[in-house]
C-alpha cells in the first residue's frame, strides 16, 4: 500500500523528466574564446566564436538575426552566440549576470549605465578598451579624435569601459511646442521672452484662437506631469540631471535660485488665470493625447514629438518654441555610452572589436541604421531615402527596421549617419522628417551644460541619497505653488531653508567636486 504512493510520485517524476527532455536545457553562455572553431562550424577555416548578451528588440527581434549582424558575421567569419534579454528585465538581468559571475564575453546593446561601468570596470569584470580601440578600431578612433569625444566615454578612473553610440544632439529636456497656426490666425508673432509668452497664451484663451466660435474651449498650455520643459526658457541653460547651472565654473542649484522663483511665479500666474490645463498634474499621457487628437484645443504642449499629443494630422501646426537666446538652451551631446562592453572572460577581443568598427563610419552607420540599399531602403533622385515595404524584410516600417537594422529599444554600437537625419524622404514619414527638422533647428542654439561627470562611488552614494529626497521635496513645493495651495512670496524663504537643511550643501559639494575634476579631464 505504501508503495503505491511512492510509485505514483516516481511515475510523476518520470513523466516530468521526459517532458523536460523535450525542451532540452540550453547552456548558459558558452565559454569559447580561442581561435579554434566550435563544434558546429562546417567551414574549413578557423571561425572565432564569442558569447554575448543583447536586448531583444520589440520583444521579437534577435540581434543575431538582423541583416547587419548576419552580413558582418559572415564577412569576418566570426560567430557570436547571443542570449537575448527582454527589455523589461534588462537592468535586473545585467546585474544578476555580472554579480553572480555568470556573464558572457560581450554585452552588446544591453543598456549598461555609467555607474555600472565604473563599478564593474574597477573590479576588473569589464576590461578597459581604450588601447584596444586605438589598435583595432580606426574608424571609431578617428571619429573620437576629430570630435574631441574621448572625454565622454571615459569612466571616473580614466578608462573606457564601453563603446559609444552617436545620434543627433538634441534638447536635454522635453521639447516645448507652440501652435503657430493660432498665432498667425490672431496676428501675433512667436514669443521671444516669458512676458511675450504670457501675452500669447492669454490671447489664445481670450480671442477664440481656434476660430470655432467658442471662446472657452482653448487650453493655452496643456501638459502632463511636471512642467520642466519651461526650464529651457529661463535665460540660462540648466542641466536636466542635476538641475544645476554653471557660472564661471561654479555650480548653483536652480531650484533655490531667483530663476526658479521666476519660473514658479510665471506658472502660478498662468494657472490662476486658467491658462493651464487644470488637471495637468493628475492626467496621464494617454489622456492628454486623447484630448489633443480629438479637437484643436491645445495652444502649446510638451512632448518628445508633438504628433504624439495632437496626432499626425495637426502636428505641423506646431513648432518647437525657439530658444530665447544663444546659449540658453541645454542640449545633450548625442552620445550614448555603454553600448558595447567586453568582460574579462573574453581573451581575444581584437577581432570582434574590429568587426564592430565597421559601424562607426558613415557607410557602416548606414548599414547599422538603415540596412542595405535596394533591400531595406531605396534612394530617389534627390538623394532622399525611404524604407522598402512589402519586400522580404517586412510589410511595415517596424518589421523592416527590426529585421534589417540594429537600431531600436536601446542605443547600439554605431554612428548614426548624417543621411538618416537630413535626407529622410517625406514619403517615408513626413512627421518624422518634420520632427527632425525642428530638433536640428533648436539644437543650433544649444549648449552642453556639464562635462561628463565622473563621480567617485562615495559621491555617487551621497548624491543618490540626497538628490532623491531633495527632488521629491522641491517637486512637491512646485506643485503646491503652481496650484495655488501655497503662496510663493510668503513661503519661499522657508522652502529654501528646508532644502538647505536637507543637506543641499553636501550635495552641491559633491557636484562641484565632480565638476572640477571632470572639466580638468577634458
Amino acid at each position: 500500500m505504501k508503495h503505491k504512493f511512492i510509485s505514483i510520485l516516481l511515475a510523476a517524476a518520470m513523466v516530468l523528466s521526459m517532458a523536460a527532455c523535450g525542451g532540452s536545457p540550453s547552456q548558459s553562455q558558452p565559454d569559447h574564446s580561442s581561435a579554434d572553431g566550435s563544434a558546429d562550424t562546417k567551414a574549413p577555416e578557423d571561425k572565432l566564436t564569442y558569447s554575448a548578451v543583447a536586448v531583444l528588440h520589440a520583444s521579437t527581434y534577435d540581434l543575431d538575426d538582423s541583416l547587419p549582424m548576419q552580413i558582418l558575421q559572415e564577412k569576418y567569419n566570426i560567430d557570436i552566440e547571443f542570449q537575448s534579454l527582454l527589455s523589461s528585465e534588462l537592468s535586473e538581468k545585467r546585474n544578476l549576470l555580472l554579480n553572480s559571475g555568470d556573464y558572457p564575453e560581450l554585452f552588446i546593446k544591453s543598456g549598461m549605465s555609467s555607474s555600472e561601468m565604473l563599478d564593474y570596470g574597477s573590479q576588473g569584470i569589464l576590461i578597459p578598451l581604450e588601447d584596444l580601440i586605438k589598435e583595432h578600431m580606426p574608424n571609431l578612433t578617428a571619429w573620437l579624435d576629430e570630435n574631441n569625444a574621448w572625454q565622454w566615454i571615459l569612466s571616473s578612473d580614466g578608462h573606457v569601459y564601453g563603446l559609444p553610440c552617436y545620434e543627433l544632439a538634441i534638447t536635454d529636456w522635453t521639447p516645448y511646442w507652440i501652435n503657430m497656426k493660432w498665432i498667425e490666425y490672431l496676428g501675433l508673432k512667436e514669443p521671444s521672452s516669458l512676458d511675450e509668452l504670457y501675452e500669447v497664451l492669454k490671447a489664445f484663451k481670450e480671442q477664440d484662437a481656434n476660430g470655432n466660435g467658442d471662446p472657452n474651449d482653448e487650453i493655452p498650455l496643456a501638459f502632463n506631469g511636471m512642467p520642466t520643459f519651461l526650464m529651457q526658457y529661463l535665460g540660462q541653460a540648466v542641466d536636466s540631471r542635476t538641475y544645476c547651472t554653471v557660472n564661471d565654473g561654479k555650480l548653483s542649484f536652480v531650484p533655490v535660485t531667483d530663476m526658479y522663483y521666476t519660473y514658479l511665479e510665471f506658472l502660478a500666474k498662468l494657472y490662476a488665470e486658467g491658462l493651464i490645463l487644470d488637471t495637468c498634474f493628475t492626467i496621464t499621457g494617454e489622456e492628454l493625447t486623447a484630448k489633443g487628437t480629438e479637437n484643436d484645443i491645445f495652444g502649446s504642449s510638451a512632448s518628445a514629438g508633438i504628433f504624439l499629443v495632437v496626432g499626425r494630422d495637426n502636428d505641423d501646426d506646431y513648432k518647437m518654441l525657439t530658444p530665447f537666446g544663444e546659449g540658453q538652451y541645454a542640449i545633450g551631446n548625442g552620445i550614448g555610452t555603454g553600448v558595447f562592453c567586453v568582460t574579462d572572460k573574453c581573451t581575444n577581443p581584437g577581432p570582434v572589436l574590429a568587426m564592430f568598427d565597421t559601424f562607426y563610419s558613415q557607410e557602416g552607420g548606414i548599414l547599422a541604421t538603415m540596412g542595405v540599399e535596394g533591400e531595406t531602403y531605396s534612394v530617389n533622385e534627390q538623394g532622399e531615402w525611404e524604407w522598402i515595404l512589402g519586400g522580404k524584410y517586412g510589410e511595415t516600417v517596424d518589421e523592416v527596421r527590426g529585421n534589417g537594422t540594429i537600431q531600436g529599444t536601446t542605443a547600439g554600437p554605431y554612428l548614426s549617419p548624417d543621411i538618416w537625419w537630413t535626407k529622410m524622404s517625406p514619403n517615408a514619414d513626413p512627421d518624422e522628417v518634420y520632427l527632425n527638422q525642428e530638433r536640428v533647428r533648436t539644437a543650433a542654439y544649444g549648449v552642453s551644460v556639464l562635462p561628463n561627470m565622473h563621480y567617485t562611488e562615495e559621491d555617487e552614494d551621497t548624491v543618490a541619497a540626497l538628490a532623491t529626497d531633495i527632488q521629491m521635496y522641491f517637486e512637491e513645493y512646485t506643485v503646491e505653488v503652481i496650484t495655488g495651495k501655497k503662496d510663493l512670496a510668503s513661503t519661499w524663504d522657508n522652502y529654501v531653508a528646508t532644502v538647505e537643511r536637507m543637506g543641499l550643501s553636501d550635495l552641491m559639494d559633491a557636484y562641484q567636486r565632480t565638476y572640477d575634476k571632470s572639466i580638468a579631464l577634458q
Binding site: 527589455s87 523589461s88 496621464t284 494617454e286 529599444t409
Partner: protein, 296 residues
C-alpha cells in the same frame, strides 16, 4: 416558529439584494475590460466607453496574435502550470501533514524554520547562484523546483489538517492496522479535497501569472512563459519614452499605441484558460464532505 421565519426572511432578502448589487459591481468593470479590448484607445481616455466598445477595432487582438512567439509562450505556461502544480501539491502535503500531527515531535521547530524563511531571504544573487550550481538555469526545472513550496500554503494546509482530521479518526485507523502513509493516502487526502482544490488553485494561478521566475532564470526565448511576452510588450512602450536613443518618433508612437491597446486584450487572453478551469474546481467546495466520518 414565526420569529424564526420572519428573521430569516429579512436576512435572505437582504442577502439576495446585496449579492445582486455585488454582481453589478463586479460585472461592470469586467465587462469594461472586454469592451475596452475592442475599443480605440483615444475613446477610452475620453471616457466614452461605458457599455459598448467605441471605435470598434480588432487591432489589439491582431497585434497580439502577430507575435508567433505567443503560442510558444502559451504552451510553456500550460506545461509549467500543470507540472508545477503537481509537484507543489505533492511537496506541500508531504510537509504539511506531519506538521499537523500533535504527536510529531519536531513540528514546532520545523514550523519556526519555515516562518523564518518568509522574512529573511538571502536575496536574488545568492539564490541564483544556488540554482545555477544545481545546473537548473535556463531549463524547464528552473520554473518548477525553486518555487516548489510556498510557506504560506504549507501553513494553510497544515491548519486545515489540524482542524478537519480529528485524532479519533487517526486512532481508529491505527487500531485497524493502518500506518501513517496509508492513513494519509486513503483517509486524509479524500477528506481534504476542498483544501487541495484551494491550494492547487493558488499554486496554479501563481504559476500561470509568474513572470519573475522566468525573468531571472531563463534566457532562451523558446522557454519563456506567456506572461513574459505580454508584460514585455506593455513595458516596451514606457521604456521607449524614457530613452530616446535608437528610437525614432514613429517607433515611439507605435509602441505607446500598442501598449495601450494591448493592455486589455492581454488580460483577456491570459485569463480565459483560468476561467475555464475554475468551474471544475468549484465542485470541490461542496458542503457536507465530512458527513458520516465521525460517529460518536
Amino acid at each position: 416558529m414565526n420569529r424564526r421565519n420572519h428573521s430569516d426572511t429579512i436576512f435572505d432578502t437582504a442577502n439576495v439584494i446585496i449579492m445582486c448589487v455585488l454582481l453589478l459591481i463586479f460585472i461592470w468593470p469586467l465587462w469594461f475590460v472586454v469592451a475596452a479590448s475592442f475599443s480605440d484607445p483615444n475613446e477610452l481616455w475620453m471616457g466614452n466607453v461605458v457599455l459598448l466598445p467605441k471605435g470598434f477595432t480588432l487591432e489589439a487582438y491582431e497585434k497580439l496574435l502577430e507575435y508567433s512567439d505567443i503560442w510558444v509562450g502559451y504552451k510553456n505556461s500550460i506545461l509549467y502550470t500543470a507540472a508545477g502544480t503537481l509537484v507543489n501539491l505533492a511537496a506541500t502535503v508531504a510537509l504539511a501533514y506531519p506538521l499537523s500531527r500533535k504527536d510529531f515531535m519536531p513540528r514546532n521547530l520545523i514550523m519556526m524554520m519555515l516562518i523564518v524563511t518568509m522574512y529573511f531571504s538571502g536575496g536574488l544573487i545568492p539564490t541564483y547562484l544556488v540554482v545555477k550550481n544545481l545546473g537548473m538555469v535556463n531549463t524547464f526545472w528552473a520554473m518548477i523546483i525553486p518555487g516548489a513550496i510556498s510557506t504560506y500554503n504549507v501553513i494553510v494546509t497544515r491548519t486545515y489538517f489540524s482542524n478537519s482530521i480529528p485524532a479519533e479518526l487517526h486512532n481508529a485507523a491505527k487500531i485497524d492496522g493502518a500506518n501513517n502513509l496509508q492513513f494519509l493516502w486513503k483517509i486524509v487526502l479524500p477528506l481534504s479535497k476542498p483544501i487541495l482544490a484551494v491550494i492547487g488553485l493558488y499554486y496554479a494561478v501563481g504559476h500561470w501569472n509568474d513572470y519573475y521566475t522566468a525573468l531571472i532564470y531563463l534566457y532562451d526565448k523558446k522557454l519563456f512563459p506567456l506572461t513574459c511576452f505580454l508584460k514585455n510588450m506593455i513595458i516596451d512602450a514606457s521604456l521607449s519614452m524614457e530613452g530616446s536613443f535608437g528610437v525614432s518618433a514613429t517607433e515611439m508612437e507605435k509602441m505607446i499605441r500598442l501598449s495601450q491597446s494591448l493592455k486589455y486584450s492581454t488580460i483577456i487572453i491570459s485569463v480565459i484558460p483560468l476561467l475555464i478551469i475554475y468551474p471544475f474546481i468549484q465542485k470541490f467546495f461542496v458542503k457536507g464532505v465530512m458527513i458520516g466520518s465521525i460517529k460518536g
